[in-house]
Symmetry: C2
């Protein structure tokens, strides 16, 4: 091998893109706690605590609430592979990049896809979903609560009602939003919900929290055909994560330690306080962006607090902007995905990154790099944010 290896030295980053987000020092420490076996009595205690903390962040009592041993996209695949039997009609509300991914998964798992397209940046209405359901036989509906590609929040509670009136089950993607804004799984009657570890939970990427209610469980256990994934089979997984404790796969112990600690931090702060913090920092950030004369992609009423695409000013290369932020400040923001590629950069204020220091640093850095690229901002974003924080 003609390669010299040097010591791992990633350097400091502010992870203010679409995830991963910054991790708290306690999460780093938890991740490097001594490894124990996946059947060790101590780890079984950690598993119980992890399930309880997941129920806390999902605001659910669902027994089937576990961390899948893979990333958020595998969480998505877990839901579709377990719920779809060949030929099942599945309605997907595609409002962005990840809605489209849901549609791809439906087809991979043998479902009959019914697809409604939303305009990027505009949420679906419950009546759109009703109309679609009136015209098909879908028994399963999928929607992304907050698209990391657009930053739009969907009216999931209203949509759940419509889906249930039609006798179906609703799968909701909360990869970007869980822990950052109110998503009460039980009171909104979301049947199946999944997320990722590395966004508003601020744990390392690699784990996908999943929760399913009894109706979803019964549908899975009553399947007539086998699930086409062994690794993501919820019935098998629950034999390990439930009281049987029987071996399925080797749990990623260190990542579970980290996820538990990250959720413990959320529990200590209190979910509601965390939501308020995300809302406040979004408000300060918005004040700054508005003052600078920059534009959000999404209209204000539809915006999620934790991820927002900002349009690059005329004549400014957004990739170059992001390169400067990374190189000069260690700030990562995201590029535009799909329809926004090359047109916008995405700012995440997720979990541990939804902090006053991050907002002020980003606004200041943005002003400097825009100026360096020849774009004079209208007014100081930092000053506008300061007013919000002092009000």
């Amino acid at each position: 091998m003609n390669r010299e290896f040097s010591q791992l030295n990633p350097g400091k980053r502010y992870l203010m893109g679409p995830g991963p987000s910054d991790m708290h020092q306690r999460v780093y420490q938890a991740m490097s706690a001594p490894l124990v076996g996946h059947l060790d009595p101590y780890f079984q205690q950690v598993m119980e605590e992890t399930k309880d903390l997941l129920r806390y962040v999902f605001q659910t009592k669902n027994e089937w609430t576990i961390p899948i041993s893979a990333t958020g996209s595998a969480g998505m695949e877990t839901c579709f592979t377990n719920l779809i039997e060949p030929g099942d009609e599945v309605l997907i509300c595609v409002g962005g990049y990840f809605g489209d991914r849901m549609a791809q998964m439906v087809e991979r798992h043998g479902g009959k896809l019914v697809r409604i397209e939303g305009e990027w940046g505009i949420p679906f209405s419950a009546s759109q979903v009703k109309q679609a359901l009136d015209n098909c036989n879908a028994s399963l509906v999928g929607i992304v609560h907050t698209e990391t590609s657009t930053g739009v929040e969907q009216p999931v509670e209203d949509i759940a009602k419509i889906v249930h009136e039609h006798g179906g089950l609703l799968i909701v993607d909360t990869v970007a939003s869980l822990g950052g804004t109110n998503i009460p799984v039980d009171s909104w009657e979301i049947d199946i919900c999944y997320s990722g570890s590395q966004k508003c939970l601020s744990a390392p990427p690699g784990i996908a929290p999943v929760t399913m209610n009894e109706r979803a469980r019964d549908r899975i256990l009553g399947r007539k055909t086998p699930i086409d994934s062994w690794y993501l089979d919820m019935g098998l997984l629950m034999k390990y994560w439930g009281s049987e404790r029987s071996y399925h796969h080797t749990a990623p112990v260190s990542s579970i330690y980290a996820l538990r600690e990250a959720m413990l931090l959320i529990h200590e702060e209190g979910l509601e306080n965390g939501f308020s913090r995300h809302a406040l920092n979004y408000t300060a950030f918005k004040a700054g962006i508005d003052a600078m004369g920059l534009s959000f992609f999404v209209e204000e009423p539809y915006r999620a607090p934790m991820i927002n695409p900002i349009l690059a000013p005329e004549g400014i290369d957004e990739a170059k902007l992001r390169g400067r932020l990374l190189q000069d400040y260690g700030i990562e923001v995201g590029g535009g995905l799909g329809a926004l590629k090359g047109k916008a950069f995405r700012v995440g204020l997720m979990g541990q990154c939804s902090q006053k220091d991050h907002v002020m640093l980003l606004l200041g850095a943005l002003e400097q790099v825009l100026l360096a690229e020849g774009h004079q901002v209208q007014a100081s974003g930092v000053s506008a944010a300061a007013i919000v924080y002092n009000s």
Copy 2:
């Protein structure tokens, strides 16, 4: 939530079961290096280094050599879901628990399963495989190089020849053995090979190294039907891990840091030196077990150096024995799986656990707990191992 959470405090363990194994301090440190984004230029460098190190441990030049973002069982599923099209005949050589898992996966992914059963504890012969292939149309054959359930090594090189004479491709599971004994993927002409991070590589559980040669790649890219997993689709994965760098899923950055460091330790020691170390520590361990009058489950010529079931002496409850080792010494050994459940305990000398100190501690502890359970050993295992180390 009616639960009090205390600080994470797993306590010290010697992980001498079927995995995970102990991690080197450098691996703990690497895992908690600052998190960067999965599209960060620094992480792209880490990805290139990781692929090169994987090629080193697999002894291959295969371009398609990547870490799957999930555990070893997902590595197994990656191979079967990518290679099998509905109706393909697949021969599985079932010699233990994980061979049986392969057979389950073949059926889940729509393959037509042809199954040959080996006796637990005895390897297959190339002629058994030839006979099976003469009597079916399998274009894909799966075998586990070293079953963690039995500790038997299979004659993979000979079997690869037979498979190729019949025009098929060979999938080899090296979850337990990669890095602990010689498995030269290219010179043995293994077409598809997967492993796990947490055994002889001594990285945290959660990652599955996979390598595929050009014939496997061509078969995958030439499929007529879509792969029934989106998350494990090698074509999509190679767009992220290859030169395109296009987003697929969020890589588990911290786990990749850890895997890279663990493989760097193997590279620094030298693969061959690591194999010799595993062989020496097995020899000392064997001398100890023999001296104590205990019995291996597997005949000597078939034993792998890194995992071995030891039969519980008559009248001794193996679960109680394991409980004492864990409680009194922090030593984890494994219980018997499948046919060996309740009859044997499994000792792993994998990666960082294949060390003189681990062997001597285990033999001493075993003597003490056997005596406590009323079983007097024939002679000192520690003294017998000492002679091996001094010879």
